[in-house]
């Protein structure tokens, strides 16, 4: 686009001068809908019954949809007993995490909520139109589920504090000057994981083998991002190195860890770590699993970061060299900041898929969310569908909302446009 403008300027054909504010004709053409329907009737004709074939498809699809809705309705309201979930909500959330220490989980949750609300700062707008309707429906459904599944007033109060805290920190985020806000936001996300670790483990805290339920899945995914980030960056830079030895080593590590499924790594983590590390280093099994998962995740992060580094325009390298920056400082000051910024949406995507992958920890007898659901299914025979569906709903809610967030972030960072 800008190239084109420059070319026109070269030829002295600056026709845009007087009307720089007008939308570019080409762009209007791109985004314009084929035809604006004016009445609901017209809309239905255009979108559902525009021809005989289309009408048949609509009817078939509608019948199918009605059937599905009936089935789902029957499942949710008639054939299922959801009291199982009501009784075992704690099991889903934190498993057998000591009840006296649950305040640590709540505190961590509040930390993340506050940071998320603060970071959302300028980008959160009040939803309008269709998204407002969707938001209201989602909020009502969420409230109903939370009220139904929580048993004591205290828990409801603690849960209600989450949206309140989000809004409050959002307001704070808007009031703080933008520059300070951005600085706190960046450092906040860098430091949130160590902070949570301190909250959970510090002051006679709770050891990893007692982390269970959804809490475990979230923590494990966070470990997979934060602990593997430095290794991932190192591997990414190694893979782009001019030195064949380093490049070869990085390629082998990345491809081996990516090429073997995570379940295999988890199941064999005990043997591998035992065999390869000094015997006097006696680690708990869960830490061994975290070690291999960190390497697994690092291999993926390396590929994401490599993509980001490749996306940095070669002119940036040349400019940095021209300024006389040595290689390390060129990477640290010029290349990585741009590359990492561009990889944020992909990293969130990786976090989502890691979060989904944490269900695999049930293979090594960790009572994470899915495992908790399956145990419940065994305990209450014949209700495994409900217990599984509820676990699926939790996975879905978190993964879906994060992917939406990532899409918006992508738009805002303008990653696609570079």
């Amino acid at each position: 686009m800008s190239d084109e403008i420059r070319k026109r300027e070269l030829r002295g054909l600056q026709e845009d001068v007087s009307r720089a504010t007008l939308p570019d004709e080409g762009r209007v053409v791109e985004s314009a809908p084929a035809k604006e329907p004016k009445t609901p009737g017209e809309w239905i004709r255009l979108n559902l019954f525009s021809g005989p074939f289309n009408s048949i498809l609509t009817i078939v699809a509608a019948v199918f949809l009605v059937f599905l809705v009936f089935q789902a309705f029957g499942f949710v309201f008639l054939n299922s007993d959801w009291r199982v979930i009501q009784v075992r909500m704690k099991g889903y959330m934190v498993g057998s995490f000591p009840i006296d220490e649950v305040w640590r989980v709540w505190s961590s949750l509040y930390l993340v909520t506050a940071l998320a609300g603060f970071s959302a700062g300028d980008s959160v707008r009040l939803p309008r139109g269709r998204s407002l309707v969707g938001g209201v429906i989602a909020a009502v459904v969420a409230t109903v589920i939370v009220v139904y599944t929580t048993q004591t007033g205290l828990v409801r109060l603690l849960a209600a504090a989450i949206p309140a805290l989000f809004l409050a920190s959002n307001v704070v985020g808007r009031l703080v000057p933008p520059k300070t806000m951005r600085r706190i936001r960046t450092w906040g996300w860098v430091l949130i994981f160590p902070a949570i670790m301190i909250v959970i483990r510090g002051f006679d805290g709770v050891a990893p083998n007692e982390w269970e339920g959804l809490f475990f899945n979230l923590i494990a995914a966070a470990v997979g991002i934060f602990a593997s980030f430095p290794i991932g960056i190192a591997l990414a830079i190694g893979r782009r190195s001019e030195l064949p030895a380093i490049r070869g080593f990085s390629v082998v590590v990345i491809e081996v860890f990516r090429g073997v499924p995570l379940v295999a790594w988890l199941i064999f983590s005990r043997f591998i770590v035992d065999l390869l590390l000094p015997p006097q280093l006696d680690l708990p099994d869960i830490i061994k699993a975290f070690v291999v998962m960190t390497m697994f995740s690092a291999a993926y992060i390396a590929e994401i970061v490599r993509g980001g580094i490749q996306g940095v325009h070669s002119g940036q390298y040349e400019a940095a060299r021209a300024l006389g920056l040595p290689t390390t400082r060129m990477m640290a000051l010029i290349v990585l900041p741009q590359a990492l910024r561009a990889t944020i949406p992909a990293l969130i995507g990786h976090f989502i898929s890691l979060f989904k992958d944490t269900a695999l920890f049930s293979a090594i007898a960790v009572t994470e969310l899915l495992d908790a659901a399956m145990r419940l299914g065994l305990e209450f025979q014949g209700q495994d569908a409900q217990t599984l569906v509820f676990a699926a709903l939790i996975f879905w809610t978190i993964a879906f909302s994060m992917s939406r967030w990532s899409q918006r972030l992508e738009l805002r960072l303008g990653v696609g446009e570079r």
């Binding site: 491809e255 043997f271 989904k356 269900a359």
Partner: protein, 386 residues
Amino acid sequence: MKPPLWRDIRVLHVAGQVAFVVLVVFVLREMYLNATFSLAERGRVLSYDFLDSRAGFGIKETFIPYTPNSSFLSAFQVAVVNALVVTGVGIVLATILGIFVGIMRLSPNWLLRKISQGYVEIIRNIPALVQIIFWYTAVILAIPRLENSISIFGFAYISNRGAAVPTLEGGEDFGTWGLFLLAAIVAAFLVRRWRTKVFDDTGQPHYRFLWSSGTLVGIAAVGYVVLGDPFTIETPEIGLRNLIGGISVSPEFAGVLVGLVIYTAAFIGEIVRGSILAVSKGQKEAAEAIGLRPSQQLRYVVLPQALRIALPSVTNQYLNFWKNTSLGFFIGYPEIINITRTMTNQAGHELEIFSLLILIYLSVSLALSLVMNILNKTVALRGTTR
């Protein structure tokens, strides 16, 4: 003028690499020493000899001959074949379903679009494992017992003992009919060339696909009638303990297959949609401007380009599918993880078995990407030659 050694960039590069290699070798040596030490402590040595000894465990579902008396190596081979069969069947089904989902997503019909979007948004955001376990425990095992299996028009049966579909049972003249079939294939090929020539010579529409498939079916049908029932279709029946006849698969196989196909199809659907949208609007306009009909625009301009855009991502999905067969472990499908774990329980030798596991996952992935790369080259060959 040569710079001093410690400032010579070439010397530094070599020195850096040497230092790095020394470091890596040192770490690997430490690991090796640790490994041999802990093995020695348990009275073992690194050896692959155990692979030839008797496995001693049974496997529920095998596609190649196997008994508990077979060796560990053949148990491992069974596992690899089991995983490959699921992958082979699965990626075909997932591709078909995915194309369907992706095209629905672009349909002018609002309802179809929304159904497809809902499917993708729901399926993508739930772990594949949760879905496989759901299909297995809550759907397949909840299906009626054997004696009241769900019958699909009396041809196929689904029960909690597995599913069965009809097979062809060859009669006496089956071989002769095979010759007919061969002739039909050759004829179809020739007809295709003839139609291409007609198109080249006269410019009349070729309808190559219709002509050649018509020839194929026609000759095969004539052969069937002439030979008088050279084969019969064997439908499965409900036996005492199992479904008898036809091709039957275990509930575990069905669980992995259904779960992964539905999961992967959502991703392929997104790729299909994205690739078609990625063909620039200008291409469609240019095709319109030279007067091509919508079907011709799709056939000659949009689809060839979309295919090229889609292939690398689809390859990725195929690789994921292959790795995801490991989820069969959780519902007891005898794939690689499941069998290797049994093997370690029986024989120990974790390190050796794990090295085999790495080897097989990597080599199948490599083979798969090689095949897809060749495909990619044949598709991309034209047009990218610079």
